[in-house]
């Protein structure tokens, strides 16, 4: 156990410089976050270091003014539906991609990579147009469909390497023991890929709750998620008090923070951003 000795992280002047930059980044980041939190609890805050007086009223006001209750319900509904459907569609596809080699496999991988690589706005606008044409947009169904577009490929790209590292001989062994396809899935593959499925589910959840553009383009008044409601409240600032927007932002961030802490218990932090890089090898 030689690793127990803490490695020297500092020492050279370059090392100090790097730590200086990191600390500067964190100090400012903390400033950004704390400024919002402080403001959300402040009575009045104008051209002083700290607000004059404290209050928690803004939270109640934000809750009422922005009808946060229904918004949170919508956010939850969208997130759960997107996670469930994208797993149902994505996991079998990931299995087939991991196991089979067939003509056009690379083309199919590219097809699944594109929705992740393109900025959401580029396909969001035509997608919203199509969804409006067929009457999906403006409702929950439209928001869910739009959010599935990057989520399904994301599940596929996260799960494919995961399934690849499960020895295919184990499935064959199950077959030779007399297991049917569904039994192989249920009794062998599912227990072995629970960590991967959990990771993919949480990642899709985090991304869906945070996804602004697609929801923004397809949501109607009754189908806004929290981010979109927050955006509207901010861009219409002046009508509402600044502090109540801050309060809403704090609610949003706390929610994301809880998700993050849960996520980090199950997944490698790198997975939070993408597994796309690994796919290209």
């Amino acid at each position: 156990m030689t690793e127990l000795r803490p490695r020297r992280l500092t020492g050279s002047p370059l090392g100090w410089l790097i730590w200086g930059v990191v600390i500067f980044f964190f100090v400012n980041l903390a400033g950004v976050i704390v400024a919002v939190v402080v403001s959300s609890f402040g009575r009045r805050w104008f051209d002083t270091w700290l607000p004059q007086g404290w209050t928690a009223d803004w939270y109640g006001r934000a809750w009422r003014d922005f009808t946060l209750g229904p918004v949170l319900v919508v956010t939850l509904e969208v997130a759960v539906l997107v996670v469930g459907i994208s797993l149902l569609i994505g996991v079998p596809a990931a299995y087939a991609l991991a196991r089979a080699s067939f003509p056009g496999r690379r083309l199919l991988l590219l097809l699944f990579l594109l929705p992740i690589l393109m900025p959401p706005i580029t396909y969001g606008i035509p997608l919203a147009t199509v969804l409006y044409k067929y009457g999906f947009a403006g409702h929950l169904s439209g928001v869910v469909l739009a959010n599935l577009v990057p989520s399904v490929p994301f599940v596929i790209l996260t799960m494919t390497p995961f399934i690849e590292q499960i020895d295919p001989a184990i499935e064959r062994a199950a077959r030779m023991c007399g297991a049917r396809t569904w039994q192989v899935f249920l009794r062998v593959l599912a227990p072995l890929s629970v960590p991967g499925i959990l990771a993919a589910a949480i990642l899709v959840l985090v991304r869906t709750v945070g996804m602004f553009e697609l929801t923004f383009l397809t949501a109607g008044p009754d189908s806004q998620t929290l981010v979109v409601a927050l955006y509207y409240s901010m861009s219409s600032a002046g009508i509402r008090a600044q502090q109540s927007v801050d309060a809403m932002a704090v609610i949003y961030t706390s929610m994301m923070l809880v998700l993050l802490v849960v996520a980090l218990r199950f997944v490698n932090p790198t997975q939070l951003v993408a597994r796309v890089g690994d796919e290209e090898k």
């Binding site: 020895d167 001989a169 184990i170 064959r172 062994a173 023991c177 297991a179």
Partner: protein, 353 residues
Amino acid sequence: MSEPGFRELRLDGVGRSFGGREALAGLTLTIRKGEFIALLGPSGCGKSTALNCLAGLLPLTRGSIWRDDARLDTVPPERRGFGMVFQNYALFPHLTVRRNVAFGLQMRRVPRAETRRRVDEALRLVHLGEHAGKLPGQLSGGQQQRVAIARAVVLEPSLVLMDEPLSNLDAKLRLEMRTEIRRLHQTLGLTTVYVTHDQEEALSLADRLVVLREGRVEQIGTPEEVHGSPVSRHVADFMGYRNLLPLKAEPPAAGRVTVGGEGITMTGTPVGAIAAGDLVVAAARPEDLSIATEGVPATVEVVEYQGREVAVEARTEAGIALFLRGPTRPAPGDRIHVAVDPARLLVFPRDDP
């Protein structure tokens, strides 16, 4: 509750290609009940492909498989009722040893009490009774191997397939498990198809050997036949005929042929049609060459002590290497004469593929 038995299993021109590349070309073979068959060949010869086709894990691209009069190659693997032991064991890492072995019985909906009894029996058979509650990751390689065998034989399958099951074990364990597998076959009488690249393993275990090369059958026969009378220089090469000398034939006479060239003259036994002037390959095992008072002159280059015997590499004037094995121990640089029993020097036509 054992699997439906069969009198014989017939492979009829079974072939498999991958995107046009032929991995197995037309294997025709009849496996009789209770037989132990070894598929033998160097890596890439198609032996694992053949096994996977037989298991149903790989769809055929040619031919058909029959169990007595019923067509088998269209039946999915889980319904063929075969057992299989995989090269890297393929134990379910999330199940205990007991539940690994019970898996197949559960798939067949065998009653709980009977499952328990049969699993216990199978584990006792492979001496793993006290490890039943462990996960595969907690076992040594040899123990994992025995779990894999128990998992396959507990079903009393009509056919057991083994894919190089000993190749991941160290030398000592490999010998022990080899005896164990032979003992199991004798006790249970299970029809077995065994894939290996180790000729010694194949010779010691099997009733019949199928030697494959580049997807084609080179020879099918008993261990004695394949070992003593290989039908081609490739089989000879694989069976330990380390001396393969490219020479030229003189007119054959009375079941003997004299071959020569490059300053060598030897007399051997022709295998196949050989005429005077043909280019041939003369094959002999190291233990069939001996140091004598007359014969092919050569200079000793390398001497390896191998227990009771000594392996010698010598080189003729023309630069051809000869491999010998015997009790005498020359020193490097010694000039010797090498002789061979004509019955043990096999002469093959050189132009065979």
